[in-house]
Symmetry: C2
Subunit: 359 residues, 2 copies
């Protein structure tokens, strides 16, 4: 049996038993009897290497299935072809849709995506920013945790000159690009719709007091009432702080009826989950939707179309948010690479009312 030639070994095609080592430029250079420099330049189409050399280098690179070592490139060029994303939680229709868009956009540009969850915890979020900076990501996307009220960690990203985009849950005070919807306007138009279809006593199941989204949706609700000559009644506003659980909507609906009986004819909820909880309560207790009470949700979850009766809701365009955010991020990464100045943008993604049977 003849010993395997070095060439055969390097093709990674036989001898499956020993661990394979990735092919490097050195391997290619050695086999062709040229320098590493020339091999590198040949692959990158430098003008000072002959066409003949380029050809044989490229052919061998393909044959050996050469892939550049990303650590070496990262070390040398200080770029990782990787972006980082920090979101409060992954298991959520909105965020997984945003991520879907981000990952697709990244893939189109040959970038990879590292995803971290803050779990709505500020300290975790802060630590994860350090991890990403340390990792050398080329850009960062963040949807802030509800508890984040200090922005030094974001400022640090800017100080390191790493492009940063905030989406959905943003910090007004931080000077960077932002992508979000106009929560107040969207809520305003949903409640206006309810009013225009004859509702006069409209309750609101609102979210946590902290996040800006909750506040803005509440303000939109209030403004719509006032603009249409309906007095704002704070006893019609219910705080649902555990808004990831639809039982909160269920029990608030129950309480609403106890408090106001049939002196209420619609509910605008801060999200679809709460509306669905309420629908369940009304269904079980023979209260007709939308005859006795109308419902309008927010976010247009997949579920909204599935529930009976189907739920009217505000389409939040999660995919668009993710797509636009990453587009801007990659744009800033490109501009930074070229040394061009970066102007921070604030993009408002459009929303629309999706009318279904609950209203």
């Amino acid at each position: 049996m003849s010993p395997a030639s070095p060439l055969a070994d390097l093709t990674n095609e036989n001898n499956k038993f020993k661990q394979m080592k990735p092919v490097t430029l050195k391997d290619i250079a050695k086999q062709l009897g040229i320098s590493i420099t020339t091999a590198s330049k040949a692959l990158k189409n430098y003008p000072d290497v002959s066409d003949k050399t380029k050809k044989i280098v490229k052919e061998l690179a393909v044959k050996l299935n050469y892939v550049p070592n990303s650590f070496a490139i990262g070390l040398r060029k200080q770029e990782s072809k990787t972006i980082g994303v920090i979101i409060p939680t992954m298991v959520h229709y909105f965020f997984s849709t945003v991520l879907d868009a981000i990952i697709k956009e990244a893939e189109n540009r040959n970038y990879m995506v590292i995803i971290l969850q803050s779990n709505e915890d500020y300290r975790t979020e802060k630590k994860q920013v350090d991890l990403l900076l340390n990792k050398g990501v080329d850009g960062i996307l963040i949807s802030l945790s509800n508890k984040t009220r200090d922005f030094k960690h974001l400022q640090k990203i800017m100080d390191y000159n790493i492009p940063l985009i905030l989406f959905d849950k943003i910090a007004k005070l931080v000077n960077c690009s932002k992508v979000l919807i106009d929560d107040r306007k969207a809520a305003y138009s949903a409640v206006s719709y309810l009013i225009n279809t004859g509702r006069k006593r409209i309750a609101h199941f609102r979210g946590d007091l902290n996040p800006q989204n909750s506040i803005d949706r509440f303000l939109g609700y209030k403004k719509a009432l006032e603009d249409h000559g309906i007095p704002y009644d704070s006893s019609l506003v219910y705080l649902c702080n555990n808004n990831s659980d639809f039982t909160d909507g269920y029990s608030s609906a129950k309480q609403l009826l106890l408090d106001h009986g049939d002196n209420v004819d619609a509910i605008f909820t801060v999200n679809d989950m709460l509306a669905i909880g309420a629908i369940n309560y009304f269904n079980e207790n023979g209260i007709k939707i939308p005859d006795q009470i109308a419902l309008f949700g927010f976010s247009n979850w997949f579920m909204a179309s599935v529930i009976t009766p189907s739920l009217s809701s505000v389409e939040q365009n999660a995919y668009k948010i993710g797509k636009r955010s990453s587009e801007i991020l990659f744009e800033e990464i490109e501009r930074k690479k070229k040394g061009e100045p970066i102007v921070y943008q604030k993009v408002i993604i459009d929303t629309e009312l999706v009318l279904r049977n609950s209203s």
Copy 2:
């Protein structure tokens, strides 16, 4: 105005205007008048550096907020502290829950997670494996696309000696660790439950013909019938190939009644989406659930508890699948690092029936 001292510059605390450069070992060494070697060893508690030196190095490292450059470490140690995950799609309750578990486990071990979506496309999946290998990830988790029937890309991972775990959608032929549920058994017990509660004409809305999960759930359904003396009737099996759309369940339910009238008293569906589509059809047409027809879904989506009537379903334990998969992955990464032999495991995650109002 006095010029800033070099030390002050290195602390990254002033002069926000120029881009900050990360602190390196060289900076620490220069400031202390020692060699880079000693600085490195001091931070790593090498025995051949004095306690005094260790102390001052560590103090300065903290003060300057030194973080080791991950490219350099990756290049030197050939480890990235990063794992890769390839899933068919992100926007899915099952997969986002699995990812949630994986990310949490990774974080506990100071690993980061790169997520890629194959979009159920084999060529994409294959390309992504190359990307991850190129990137130097320390381990890979994959749930295969439905269209994957060639496993060379997986073999390549094994050839490079990178730990690989397959979960949920696995390939029997690939020799690596696997984590999955027993679809056949789970389907068997769901259908057996229907039989034991008096159902005799049980339909099945099955999924695509390709994925093993669909096949196994169908086989479990069939076996349960046979074991209980109920003849298998192929006209009761409906193929729902677009199983990410609940309208498929809606139209199949309609067709089922056209075909069999009231000579059917239960449906076992390959997933909850189809069952919910069917529930919608029955609700709209005044067919009583579970009196006239019972329903049993699969996966125990969040939605199953929300719909009216609530849907009985098989709990698939997505979180456990993700947790166990990543545990095994990290175990294999550790063993590889220590040079210990790796025995591939096949872990079956338990499932249970969640009984609700639809059955």
